[in-house]
Subunit: 357 residues, 4 copies
């Protein structure tokens, strides 16, 4: 448990925000898979901070240094390790002992968990920076999945109360998927970007933040994948997805709204399509029944809470003097991590699918 995940393909993520480096070991990848490292870097770019959609050149410090597992850009089958150096580690910003836990961060819970010994600088191992190796691993996996006809995409379903149009649950065209894969601010209806950005900017200006919902899809997953009970696709996906910081909920298909439907509305009825394939006429189950795929798109949504790092004053405790106090968090913070989190969710899905298939 903890920072390892997986069964067939295992990832083991390490690092702290202000330590020497972060990275990932990916064990048991299939051998002989050609990896296009440029594509991996493109996906990692979508997660990188300080980016806007007009292309910014990659900053060297986030470059994954592959130590093992790749030879001539081809997987050897033995463990693949990549390390990302932490160059910009201004450790003077942080004392090394926690005094004022930041609300809704892992500061306080981690302090208790690790008896005060964990590295708190920049969030330490709880930092969102740890999703960089997750995206690296996921971007390797999705290249392997694509060769099997499996496509992954996601978009910003909502920021605060502003919604994008949802995916068509019955069919997501490869063109749309590819287009979303390239966007730093992935939207199906790109005209809504202005509104969303305005809303985020207004939060930033008031020292506040916002959250949102990410909708993610995998197409091309054959029917019959997964297992009943605890081996279900929903179980496996959620067990990795909640590893992404700030995720507070996950729902498949119609999700919580299915509870307001009747069975006759909610049931996904079967039919042979024009090619003789069995399809469902609706996809309220998000491609999964009984824990097992039915061949329809796997569709789920993930709730991302507002960035807890805000600059407005907040109540907290002074652990040293054991008294109530107020905290103002300094520094520039991301007022909304939802756009950057899209590729993280996609990557977690890719790793999960590599394990299930």
């Amino acid at each position: 448990m903890s920072s390892c995940w997986g069964d067939k393909v295992k990832i083991s993520i390490f690092g702290e925000s202000h330590g020497k480096g972060i990275g990932v070991v990916v064990d048991n990848l299939p051998s002989g898979e050609k990896i296009d490292m440029d594509k991996v870097l493109q996906f990692m770019d979508r997660r990188s901070p300080g980016k806007d959609k007009t292309s910014t050149p990659r900053r060297e410090k986030d470059f994954p240094n592959v130590l093992s597992g790749l030879l001539n850009n081809t997987t050897t089958g033995t463990p693949l390790c990549a390390v990302i150096e932490n160059t910009n580690t201004r450790s003077q910003d942080y004392g090394e002992t926690l005094r004022y836990p930041r609300p809704s961060h892992g500061d306080y819970s981690g302090h208790i968990r690790y008896g005060g010994y964990n590295d708190i600088r920049g969030g330490g191992h709880f930092s969102g920076r740890l999703t960089a190796p997750l995206v690296f691993a996921g971007s390797i996996c999705r290249q392997i999945l694509e060769r099997k006809g499996i496509r992954i995409a996601s978009h910003i379903y909502s920021i605060g109360n502003i919604n994008d149009v949802p995916f068509n649950p019955l069919k997501v065209e490869n063109e749309l998927a590819e287009q979303l894969n390239r966007q730093f601010f992935p939207l199906i209806d790109t005209e809504r970007e202005v509104n969303m950005r305005d809303y985020i900017e207004s939060k930033r200006l008031s020292g506040d933040s916002t959250g949102g919902i990410i909708e993610c899809v995998a197409t091309g997953v054959p029917a019959g994948v997964g297992s009943p009970m605890f081996g279900g696709v929903e179980n496996i996906l959620s067990s990795i997805i909640f590893g992404v910081p700030a995720v507070k909920g996950i729902e498949f298909g119609t999700g919580f709204d299915i509870t307001k439907m009747t069975g006759s509305q909610a049931n996904d009825q079967y039919a042979y399509d024009e090619h003789g394939n069995i399809v469902t006429l609706t996809n309220h189950n998000g491609g999964i029944t009984g824990g097992i795929t039915n061949g329809m798109p796997i569709l789920f949504r993930v709730a991302i809470k507002p960035t807890p790092s805000i600059s407005v004053p907040q109540k907290t405790v002074d652990l040293l003097n054991r008294e109530n106090t107020e905290l103002v968090i300094k520094g520039r913070h991301d007022p909304c991590i939802v756009p950057r989190a899209t590729v993280v969710i996609e990557s977690a899905l890719a790793i999960a699918l590599m394990n299930i298939l």
Copy 2:
């Protein structure tokens, strides 16, 4: 994977709806724990079908026969196995080969997964009946947890569009928990039962069904439990909860609605309370930050889809003749499993907490 779950305490569930029996092996329970089997049976009763809240005598067939792991009603520490016989198995109702998959059941996906060899009678291993051993195992675990001061309760948060009042996320009194633990139709505001039952009955009369949302809480879990990334409490809970048939979503704390809040609204600020304990002033994170408990109640909601077994005609495929057809499911079916599912969710939570603590 599949029907095994857990790390420290492992459960392995077996059985098919119309086979000889179903049951569970619980491995690695602590030794020396006194188990009150009557209490276990009370919880199992809440899951039993054909029950209304006026006490119905236990039907012998669902009685768990403990084969091992208990001596003088005390855990030995070695694997505990309980078997529930299937007595009422009218296998003549079902052919043994799947022809018309029922929409939104595991019939079709399981048929592909197992190459047509799985036992489809009564849903086989996908049947909701398999939650009986889960409740058995969970009811053992919650007695052990109670001795550590941990209480688990849940209520019907909603049926269709009819809501109960939610839990107070900051504090759930033991009296309320105990009262809910005894209800077959657990509600905080019991006056809403009539409305909800009327709605369910209206669906039953039209051959249809409804779903709902269950809200579940654990109090008394100390701060510092769980691990970052994939070892988080949310990861672990969701990986078992989605093993309960019909669950399509899970959200912690304020869940999906937190995405509509700003950081300053959503952040759970800290304070010392009058006893010198650190508490949060709100609990939008459901007692978990960074994957780790913060000492507040663990709170989550689970979406239960409408029972897929309905008697109105539905479109499906004829797998034998490979053509589209219509299906009418016969027999009496539960128009809403939400009330019975409450104790199943509580049990899954209990098993998960035994693993995390």
Copy 3:
């Protein structure tokens, strides 16, 4: 851990010697595998106590009652559970609290491990009787393996100082394997049985016991199976084999004797055989190099210690009065479990191979 084992195919063994029953859940077997239950019972017979080689009719009490996972004698793919009732449980023979731990049994170590709560009657969960479900599970697995051309056999390599002829490490004919599979006292040179039995009988008459070595082989395992480091075939085999009571050592190929050879003697040199297959000219590595099979027979030996239940007086402690004392173990005991253990080792190998392949 504990009484669960496996990764792809998982077994979970439960039960205590004098409880209601013992059994096993086998999860994730491939579906659609026809199982000949008579053959399973034949293997279970080889493990049964009170047997000599002249056929004794099966005693009903050891009959495995399959509760799930088989339909029309074919695996459904969902968990297969079998229960063996304990009928002959004279619990009056044993107090329920340990006072005089029997030397070299698990009595004392188990007493500490479980804080005195484990069921000590008949050895409880430590009893050799728990190998019956292991043989059941293994006998299912070996039928599936045989369809892939994999044969398993073992023989009594030695009893005390009396040796059988060893397997030819380069080739074990199917005829020999089948013949050994049917023997209650499996020997390659069956003329040595008299000597061995005489020796065992002499130990029995003096209230003593003897151990021995089992040599086991699997043929037909293709090259390339297993993984480097901790995923090696030797790692996986030993992790299950030491679960068989009384095993104190395991060695592969030439084993400990290879340490006395030079590299030029020990190295298994390669050649193309007359069919164009790559073979080795010797098999000092027991078919495994770098943790991975090379296509030669997998060959290993297992050391079985003398049965610790002997009737000669032994020194032990009185845990009640905390003083030294002497113990005489009453009742009839098996002076040598090696013959019965052969099929247990074979079964463990079969389960392991199902996981690796």
Copy 4:
């Protein structure tokens, strides 16, 4: 599986002999443990090649660069990663495609396993060099164990036919353990070193190699550690020990020789010692009965095969032309890895004990 091992404390080893680097992630170490890195380096030195017992200065290239998990030389509790750079990677020595598999190496089996895509340069992931991160991880673990009073030591039990005196199975003094911990050629009777070195040198001069046996002990492990069946200490130890290249057998206590004893000779009888502790009068079981420790020293021996890299001509196959051929392995090779392997076995034991305790 594969290159990950462990349950509570997990190690994930990566790297190839001639890749950029090798290393290990150690997940779930207890937090707040002070680590003396000099002591870690001393143990790593014992494994380093090209060393004789007169102290040689550490060569920088084998220096473990700790990227995470340590702050002020104290474990943070989050994953600890160390990387060892590969500087001396003369990849021109090796083609990148396997043509002539070296007998008794993982070349051929790995070639099949990975479809020819694994990195074969220097043995790739199969190289003995991969034990460096194992020693690093183990050396961290044994410092934590020492604080709990657990001491680990090993010695060269034999080289070829030349034996050291064995450990006293009932008691290994801390002074002896410490002395062995510092030796590059650890022997209880150090006068035997000359003979052993002469024998090794004679093999080297003839282009040949030799193996040997390592005897390893852990003292101070309390009674009651481990679990029955597959959770036994022997199972867990062997599952990691066989991950050390060249290990072909493991035996606990008296091991294979116990099979030649009678029960009355082999049974470890109990007594209270002068301090009122329960001890055994002999230790033929190596401190483990029923899979669980009994408080006596844990004692086992490991068979190390002769180094397969020898310079005498050997028969092998030409995979390109598919014909038989002869191979002469060039370069300097270690004629006996037993001395260097002692600390590797100790390290594997330390990691295993961290998991069991």
